[in-house]
């Protein structure tokens, strides 16, 4: 994996506001990096600096080994960029807009037509290409914006909330498209839809208040969830639950047990969630314990935790009380 984008101690200050605070990281070819963070975390600002739209206050960015500040035009040639909200020239038709982008990207004649036709086909906008963009629905507008970023088949793709405003089918299409393209490109997408990260990203970073707070594969981030590897078991009420509780708590890696409410009409069972220490795997030991005591298990499953939970845990404002 070769490094395609690298950020070195990137900082951006807007007046008194520190939008991006000393972020360093790199993205390699074949990676789809998900930028996660609450609104105003600095995701868009970081993307705008990588694409050369705004200049960093300090720090530097290299794209394909070129410094963005020193070779802005060369860098822009290699990047496809979908800005937040997918702005387009609304008074143009989708076709003339894409032709304009293709021309500026240096394509002429048959090659231009081929490129434009390919992206039109890729994002499924064949039926609306002769309509002014202003008259299109939000989903189509966004896809025109997406097509614009793909026309030159860039090595680097930067997309600010690419699926915002799309319906579930369109989201699925766009995610499939991103996954298909990911093999030979370095892709950065920002999103606050966490399922999207699990669906398309090979790596995710969490940014809040301009700082990079977590960096890892979605799996690695999940281990930070408080209920990662927790075991939920459902057993008969007839079992003396306090004894069982004591037995489970005696298992070395178990931290706490929580009784869960039963929602359905079956009042004869109780359900408990067992939290492990340090997200370690405890399901096996608990299973053995229950079997050794001949306790019939109605149901038993391991929780993975959710990125939502991790996200909240990492970005909730009270976590910053220590700085």
């Amino acid at each position: 994996m070769t490094e395609k984008i690298s950020l070195n101690q990137l900082t951006k200050q807007f007046g008194p506001i520190l939008a991006v605070n000393n972020i360093s990281m790199s993205v390699g070819s074949g990676e789809v990096l998900g930028f996660l963070g609450p609104n105003g975390a600095g995701k868009s600002t970081t993307m705008r600096m990588i694409t050369g739209f705004i200049e960093p206050t300090s720090g530097s960015i290299e794209v394909l080994g070129m410094n963005v500040a020193k070779n802005p035009v060369e860098v822009k040639r290699s990047i496809g960029y979908l800005p937040e909200g997918a702005p387009t020239y609304g008074d143009m038709t989708a076709k003339s807009y894409l032709n304009f982008i293709a021309e500026i990207r240096g394509f002429k004649g048959a090659e231009k037509r081929r490129r434009v036709d390919t992206v039109i086909n890729n994002v499924n906008i064949e039926n609306i290409i002769n309509q002014p963009i202003d008259t299109l629905s939000k989903g189509f507008k966004r896809r025109v914006g997406l097509a614009q970023s793909l026309i030159h088949d860039p090595e680097i793709l930067i997309m600010d909330e690419p699926t915002d405003g799309l319906d579930p089918n369109q989201k699925y299409q766009v995610r499939t498209l991103i996954r298909e393209m990911s093999k030979e490109k370095a892709i950065i997408i920002s999103t606050h839809i966490l399922e999207e990260v699990e669906a398309v990203c090979s790596r995710a970073v969490i940014i809040a208040q301009g700082r990079l707070l977590a960096d890892g594969t979605p799996e690695e981030l999940l281990t930070k969830a408080s209920n990662h590897n927790a075991v939920v078991i459902t057993i008969n009420n007839s079992i003396a639950s306090d004894k069982l509780e004591n037995a489970i708590e005696a298992i070395p890696n178990v931290s706490t047990i929580e009784f869960l409410p039963i929602n359905n009409e079956d009042k004869n069972v109780s359900r408990l969630r067992v939290f492990p220490k340090n997200s370690s795997s405890i399901a096996g030991t608990i299973g053995e314990l229950l079997r050794s005591k001949d306790i019939p298990i109605h149901e038993m499953f391991i929780e993975r935790g959710t990125l939502d939970d991790v996200f909240r845990k990492i970005t909730a404002p009270e976590d910053f009380s220590d700085d």
């Binding site: 200049e55 822009k76 304009f100």
Partner: protein
């Protein structure tokens, strides 16, 4: 170079994508006519020349050119398309020039469409067509200077109304500085050199020189350097916004 052409082409077409271009052309033609015939008493002077027609151009441009220029950058900022434009592989100067030339070409078309009045004087008498050609050229360059001011000011804001008002005011000052009303104020106390400098900054001084039929290279250089200065400032404004 090719990028400037591509941007200019797109920008030029966008004038005609909305009713803006047509409304502008109609109003421009109506006003040039109205000024020449009603205020300038074009017929009563009984002269086969277009001097009266051209005399009112600075005053018309003062209001109408900022209306063409106000959208150049303010609209891109408002709709966010500036983020597309400035992340395409073009330099800031190419983007500024492309947009500027589109607007200038558009104002040139408006000017060309006044040709019936030129036909009229030729039909009614024997005007000095050399003077008329020089005046058209002078008017075109003056429009270019007004436009460069408007383009630069449009880059300062995302609000087109603000862009219009500020540009119209700056254009007004550039025009007025040649009138006795302003110059007398300076003559009262300032040395002649200051008065001359203020007067030399005026569009009117240079434009009326051209209207006499003498294209002095210095008058053209004046307009061209003014265009260059404001477009250069335009590039700086856009680059500055990037860093702020």
């Amino acid at each position: 170079m090719i990028n400037i052409t591509i941007i200019a082409k797109r920008e030029f077409k966008s004038y005609f994508a909305t009713p803006l271009a047509y409304i502008f052309l109609v109003i421009f033609l109506a006003l040039t006519g109205a000024f020449a015939f009603y205020i300038g008493r074009f017929f009563s002077t009984e002269q086969a020349s277009l001097q009266i027609f051209f005399t009112y151009h600075p005053w018309l441009y003062m209001m109408l050119i900022p209306a063409i220029a106000m959208r150049l950058w303010a609209e891109e900022r408002k709709t966010g398309t500036i983020e597309i434009l400035m992340t395409l592989p073009v330099s800031t100067a190419e983007a500024v020039l492309g947009k500027y030339f589109a607007a200038w070409a558009f104002s040139g078309i408006a000017l060309l469409l006044t040709f019936p009045i030129w036909l009229s004087v030729n039909w009614l008498g024997n005007p000095d067509n050399g003077v008329i050609v020089a005046s058209y050229l002078g008017s075109f360059f003056m429009a270019g200077a007004f436009l460069a001011i408007g383009s630069c000011i449009s880059a300062l804001t995302k609000n087109q109304v603000i862009a219009f008002i500020v540009a119209a005011t700056v254009c007004f000052l550039f025009t007025m500085s040649g009138l006795d009303m302003v110059l007398d104020f300076f003559r009262a106390w300032a040395p002649e050199i200051v008065v001359q400098t203020v007067a030399s900054m005026s569009f009117l001084t240079h434009f009326s020189a051209i209207l006499k039929g003498v294209i002095d290279i210095r008058d053209l250089i004046y307009f061209l350097s003014l265009i260059a200065f404001w477009l250069f400032a335009n590039v700086i404004v856009i680059d500055q916004k990037k860093a702020s």
